[in-house]
């Protein structure tokens, strides 16, 4: 009986380790979207209490503003925290990324996530703060804005790049298989050259990614747009050669 129970426990924990990550990932995204919705409610409430305080200047109005202000600051931090957790998930899923880059991004995100958690605790533990104190806390997070935006661009860029690179590699692998069997040299040249052009666009996108990694936040937005454009061209080129690959396959199968 005891051996059976032990065996069940071992199987259970084994399954737990290999549980589909997709279910957990979707939960993190849902959590972020939910917190984002709640943030909007807190924002609205804060603005209403602020307007009321500015109009009437009563102590009661001020107390309400402080209370709504606290909730608003905490909610803002929680949205950012859950967003960074989603980014962390995305970078973990990203293919074709150097392991040291992946590690660096994850560590950086973890650091900021922990900072945001501590930040929320600090605000929640405030006893009778005044508006000046709340403003001070707000400015602490305000100073982090550039870092968070940069992290977001970097993670999304690496994720996109990883996807397109993987698809380009798959296209090249298929070309390699078809090359040995087909007699349609014209089509083969088309698909081979197409894959090479796609690779050039990917390399161009990587140059923009280097600028995203090293640039200031004002520069990053423009570089990210250019980066996406190059990747889109790479993807479009692969789609362009696909019908040729399909025709080559038909021709090979019919021989």
């Amino acid at each position: 009986m005891t051996k059976l129970v032990k065996a069940i426990l071992i199987c259970f924990f084994g399954l737990l380790i290999f549980y589909p990550a997709q279910v957990l990932g979707q939960r993190e995204v849902d959590d972020y979207l939910y917190q984002y919705e709640k943030y909007r409610d807190y924002q609205k409430n804060f603005e209403e209490t602020r307007d009321k305080y500015l109009t009437y200047q009563t102590l009661t109005a001020k107390d309400e503003l402080i209370k709504s202000g606290k909730n608003y600051l905490v909610s803002r931090a929680l949205v950012l925290q859950t967003y960074l957790e989603v980014l962390k998930l995305k970078i973990k899923e990203t293919q074709n990324i150097a392991s040291d880059t992946r590690t660096e991004l994850i560590l950086s995100l973890d650091e900021e996530i922990n900072w945001l958690k501590d930040y929320q605790s600090s605000i929640n533990n405030l006893k009778n703060p005044d508006l000046a104190e709340l403003l001070e806390y707000s400015e602490k997070l305000e100073r982090k804005e550039d870092d968070y935006r940069k992290s977001s661009y970097r993670v999304l860029a690496y994720n996109l790049l990883g996807q397109v690179k993987q698809l380009q590699q798959e296209s090249v692998a298929i070309n390699f298989l078809l090359k040995e069997k087909t007699k349609k040299n014209q089509w083969l040249t088309t698909v081979t050259e197409g894959a090479d052009i796609s690779q050039k666009y990917i390399e161009s996108a990587e140059e923009h990614l280097d600028k995203i990694n090293s640039g200031g936040v004002n520069q990053i937005s423009g570089e990210f747009t250019n980066f996406k454009q190059e990747l889109e061209k790479a993807r479009d080129k692969l789609l362009e050669i696909l019908p040729y690959q399909q025709e080559i396959l038909k021709e090979v199968d019919s021989d």
Binding site: I8, Y83, K90, L177, L239
Partner: protein
């Protein structure tokens, strides 16, 4: 004069009275193994977890699945198939091309869901007059 032999093997020693309570206690300890509590707790955790998974699966919205209709194989196809087609290409190459096309079309360059949230970093508590 009585013959008195020195103690040997305990024959002339008074019999030792055995403590009956200790016998019973020792018997319980050595002969019966009680199931450990943590194993029972472990089983309860497993049951709770499985119930949670079943509830989650019932509550989660079901995604539409693409149903692949595979026609019945012909007699030739029922023969053990090699890893390659007659032309020597891998048997799954057609599926790979199809999958590649779908994946290329599905690359989401907008990533709307993952864009940076629109939050106020600069919060005004008291407006200047």
């Amino acid at each position: 004069m009585t013959d008195e032999f020195p103690p040997f093997g305990g024959e002339n020693l008074p019999p030792r009275e055995l403590d009956r309570e200790k016998i019973v206690q020792n018997y319980d300890k050595t002969m019966v193994k009680k199931p450990k509590n943590f194993l029972i707790i472990g089983l309860l955790v497993i049951v709770a977890f499985l119930l949670g998974i079943i509830t989650l699966l019932l509550v989660m919205p079901k995604e539409e699945k693409v149903v692949l209709v595979i026609p019945s194989p012909s007699p030739q196809e029922l023969l053990p198939s090699p890893a390659a087609t007659q032309s020597g290409l891998p048997i799954n190459i057609s599926q790979r091309l199809q999958s590649l096309q779908t994946s290329l079309q599905n690359v989401d360059f907008n990533q709307t869901q993952f864009l940076f949230p629109i939050v106020d970093f600069e919060i005004v508590f008291e407006k200047d007059n």
